[in-house]
């Protein structure tokens, strides 16, 4: 169920604030929505990738002759074929070859790729490629990587990528490729004198985003240009990376993004595009590569992390200081590791008023799959650790978990981290609402635990977006915006935003996928930024069209001045009506024409990470769990989340975002873990890697939508859909602790919970 607060009445004709049906529902239900894997182009070949079976090895030789001899095989790509260009890519750090060159650094790293007339032939050809390897020492875990004599995953200098956005990148320090931290106040002194100190170490597993549609790309070279149909959350950034790699002007790389079958961060930045483009270049024909699940799982994943943290408080429960060190396992290549590291560090203090804070976060290489973005990254890794400590302080101080948060939470306008944007949300109000929604004060049965958690996530990424709105001669409108529809419903939200400004029904507005040749620039789809930033660009573009309509209306009614009203697709004055088609005809004559508006958003300062974020996304969750101490099974009985969205453009879609995030949070908290041993991934299939099914849906779920109109986006909106993820993970962890089971490692599998509840060691003594 949903609670909207404060209560709102949506006026007649209002487009923003109504739960209109998704504009893409029909296409999707009918199976007409096209995804990259559903598409083909004339002459297209099918590509398959040969992947490394070793976590770390030298490539001594590759013999592709038998593969090439197979009928139907057109081309085989190896690292040698990429030596005419600078073949290294990576938006943060340029550390990743298109195909392995001389060395492999994780199981699953591309070693060669085959293009053939059909997929079965390409697959058969992979088995004919003979690669001779020499195995090298493996850095399998964070501890291995940080050991004094650890082998180095990379030993060359850092080469900054095009979009790291993190100032100057320092040199590597052993296997650490990036560090981020901050300090304020007198941390050590406070800890020395504090009455309560809580300290612990916490482990978060590597997990797989599992967008049901795997990474898929079609690449086609033609006339000195390359066109890609690709599963991109950030098509314009991928365009830039492909242009740089293959030495092409930006305008000669064209990226077309149809619907995405889920993203959640797994399709952010560049992934399978370089290898597909290189294979198509070698084959001289278009190529399509569609990953299988075991391949997407090692294309990118969520960082595993280890957190050491301590919290100081006085005996009344006033929080005094926090210190945290966090190590993120970014795998063999940096991917988005540096940004995840910085965001995690920003989330580590939690939204409390500290007299001293010290945070240091490191991004660490291992010989495992590269780690990148996944919904609410950073916050998901650390919030649960911090919130467990806040609860422990509350327990020792003898006060309620809601009360300790109310006492210590920041209020709007207070500093969250040194520099950067102050707090822009009413957290104290939010925490009370979520507690009420969960039934915090209701009596508890035995075996039941309740948890509540609050955190912040630096959201919005870099504030650059643009949009074009075109009002056609028949009164229908088209919105061009480079944000990717991957399930979140942004096409619906953009239609509603434009419709509100244009005073017409959103049902008469079309918004389609990105084609970088025609769609104006948008930085990316992620960090909860689409409604806020691309939405603001849409609002501004629509405002230009609206101004045009008013100008034409002024010519129709010269005496009307500002008294013309736009309503329901028409201009009105003194009971007279002129429809938009009539107004457009008035300007252009009967032959038609188009009113075109442009809108943009750009940073007010440099747009650097330090100046940000665009807004602080609120990460609030509450959960009630039952812990079976005999079996270790944790069942989630009730959850509550707060979608502090400023203004809900479409309340039903906001609720659905929170519910989706809640379920992924349940997965991360209770079920999901990529199990690595010595660099080998043991559970690379959905048979062994379990994600939540409908049977895991909690019996009761409440989403509280808070609309204080305090966001920087259109109509006071701000993004959502990620915060609940971090909030729910932490709420489940604190709820299990509340039920009396010590928690410091996720996911909370029955075995871990049982061992902890029985006082057993974490693992049997074996390798």
């Amino acid at each position: 169920m949903t609670i909207r607060t404060p209560e709102r009445i949506v006026g007649e004709g209002a487009q923003v604030g109504r739960s209109m049906p998704r504009v893409d529902a029909g296409e999707k239900l009918r199976g007409e929505a096209r995804y990259v894997g559903d598409m083909s182009v004339p002459g297209m070949l099918h590509g398959k990738v040969l992947r490394s079976p070793f976590p770390h090895a030298r490539i001594i030789s590759i013999d592709v002759s038998a593969a090439l001899a197979l009928p139907g095989v057109v081309a085989v790509l190896t690292g040698e074929d990429t030596l005419d260009i600078d073949p290294y890519w990576g938006h943060a750090i340029k550390d990743r070859p298109i195909v392995a060159i001389g060395e492999v650094r994780f199981v699953g790293e591309p070693v060669a790729a085959v293009a053939a007339e059909d997929e079965a032939t390409a697959e058969a050809a992979l088995a004919e490629i003979v690669v001779e390897y020499e195995e090298l020492p493996v850095v399998g875990t964070l501890d291995d990587a940080l050991a004094a004599d650890a082998p180095l995953v990379h030993d060359g200098p850092i080469r900054p990528g095009l979009f790291h956005g993190l100032g100057t990148l320092p040199d590597r320090d052993g296997n650490i490729c990036y560090r981020y931290g901050f300090e304020r106040g007198s941390v050590d002194e406070v800890f020395e004198q504090a009455e309560i100190v809580v300290e612990g170490e916490y482990t978060f597993p590597g997990v797989y985003q599992y967008a049901m549609e795997t990474h898929s790309v079609i690449a086609q070279w033609e006339g000195g240009e390359v066109t890609l149909w690709a599963t991109c959350q950030h098509p314009f950034l991928v365009r830039a990376e492909i242009a740089a790699l293959f030495d092409l002007p930006l305008g000669r790389v064209r990226i077309i993004v149809p619907y995405l079958g889920g993203g959640f961060g797994s399709k952010s930045y560049t992934k399978m595009e370089p290898i597909t483009v290189a294979l198509a270049r070698k084959a001289g024909r278009p190529v399509r590569i569609v990953n299988r699940v075991d391949e997407s799982m090692v294309t990118t994943r969520r960082h595993g992390a280890k957190t050491w943290m301590r919290t100081a408080a006085d005996r009344s429960g006033r929080l005094l200081a926090r210190e945290a060190r966090v190590w993120f396992d970014t795998g063999a290549y940096a991917d988005n590791g540096p940004r995840v590291t910085a965001t995690g560090a920003d989330s580590a203090p939690g939204p409390y008023r500290w007299s001293g804070v010290r945070v240091e976060a490191s991004c660490v290489h291992t010989h495992t799959a590269p780690s990148g973005s996944y919904r609410a990254f950073g916050a998901s890794h650390v919030q649960w650790a911090g919130e467990l400590q806040v609860d422990e302080v509350a327990r020792r101080a003898g006060i309620d978990p809601v009360e300790i948060r109310r006492l210590n939470l920041l209020t709007p306008g207070e500093q969250v981290r040194p520099g950067g944007k102050p707090l822009d949300a009413d957290l104290i109000g939010d925490i009370r609402k979520v507690a009420d929604a969960l039934g915090w004060d209701e009596p508890r049965e035995p075996g039941i635990g309740r948890g509540i958690s609050v955190g912040l996530l630096a959201a919005g990424a870099h504030p650059v977006s643009s949009a074009i709105v075109r009002l056609e001669a028949d009164g229908e409108a088209i919105v061009l915006v480079g944000s990717t529809e991957m399930g979140q419903g942004q096409r619906t939200a953009f239609a509603q935003i434009a419709a509100e400004v244009l005073a017409m029904p959103a049902e008469r507005i079309r918004c389609q996928g990105t084609d970088t040749r025609f769609t104006p620039y948008d930085r990316s789809t992620g960090a909860s930024r689409s409604t806020t930033l691309a939405g603001l660009a849409v609002q501004r573009a629509a405002a230009e069209v609206r101004a045009d309509l008013m100008e034409i209306a002024g010519k129709v009614w010269p005496d009307a001045g500002d008294a013309v009203e736009l309503r329901d697709g028409a201009a009105w004055w003194k009971g007279e009506r002129r429809s938009y088609p009539e107004l457009i005809a008035r300007r252009f004559g009967l032959s038609g024409g188009q009113l075109i508006g442009e809108g943009g958003v750009h940073p007010e300062g440099t747009g650097s990470y330090a100046e940000g974020p665009v807004f602080w996304e609120v990460c609030i969750g509450a959960a009630e769990v039952h812990v079976d101490r005999e079996t270790g099974v944790v069942s989630v009985r009730r959850t509550a989340t707060v979608a502090d969205v400023g203004t809900a453009i479409n309340p039903l879609l906001v609720e659905r975002q929170d519910e989706g995030a809640t379920m992924q949070g349940i997965g991360n908290a209770l079920l999901e873990e990529m199990v690595y041993r010595e660099g080998m991934l043991l559970n690379d299939s959905l048979l062994d890697y379990r994600i939540p099914t409908i049977e895991d849906l909690p019996p009761e779920q409440v989403c509280v939508i808070v609309e204080n109109a305090d966001g920087p986006g259109p109509f006071g909106a701000k993004g959502c859909g990620e915060g609940a993820f971090a909030g729910i993970i932490a709420a489940i962890a604190t709820a299990v602790a509340d039920a009396g089971v010590r928690v410091d490692e996720l996911p909370l599998t029955p075995e871990r919970v049982w061992r902890s509840s029985q006082g057993q060691p974490k693992e049997d003594a074996k390798g």
Binding site: L29, M212, G262, F264, R656, E659, M663, L697
Partner: protein
């Protein structure tokens, strides 16, 4: 190559398939019916679901030769069935689709279960749909939509 004949979305078709070919590949790559999607490849996610003789089947692990002499219905066929609109209406009202990748399979599964009277209460919906994963919605919208459909009865 083996020649098979099947009733596909109400139309009789015969075609030559390799014994190893999966129904999913034949539908998607050879016939161009892309409503059934490929994801897990191991009969866990359900996004490749089609109806064979009216029953939901994971076409990613179903050999095309097994479909010989049978009736196969994909979303492209079912969307022309009067029962489709009722399910689509409920899914739309409850925003039970997000990215849409699992949606056609979910619709086909719901149809078969509703038709057979297997969706009687929330428990039976949870049981019946446990083989269809959805990573986006968190299932709440799907549960609400299907509960509404189940409470209305089979509706023909």
């Amino acid at each position: 190559m083996t020649r098979i004949a099947l009733q596909l979305n109400g139309v009789r078709r015969s075609l030559d398939v390799e014994p190893r070919e999966l129904l999913l590949d034949v539908l998607r790559e050879r016939i161009g019916l892309t409503g059934a999607k490929r994801s897990c490849d191991v009969q866990v996610c359900g996004t490749c679901t089609v109806l064979v003789d009216g029953q939901p089947v994971s076409s990613c692990t179903y050999l095309a030769v097994e479909a010989d002499g049978r009736e196969v219905t994909t979303i492209e066929g079912f969307r022309e069935d009067p029962a489709f609109e009722r399910i689509a209406g409920a899914f739309t009202r409850h925003a039970a689709t997000q990215c849409g990748f699992c949606t056609p399979a979910m619709v086909l599964t719901v149809h078969a279960l509703l038709r057979d009277g297997e969706l009687t209460d929330e428990g039976s919906i949870r049981d019946g749909l446990a083989g269809n994963l959805c990573r986006c919605t968190g299932y709440r919208g799907i549960l609400d939509a299907v509960a509404e459909l189940a409470s209305e009865g089979t509706g023909g």
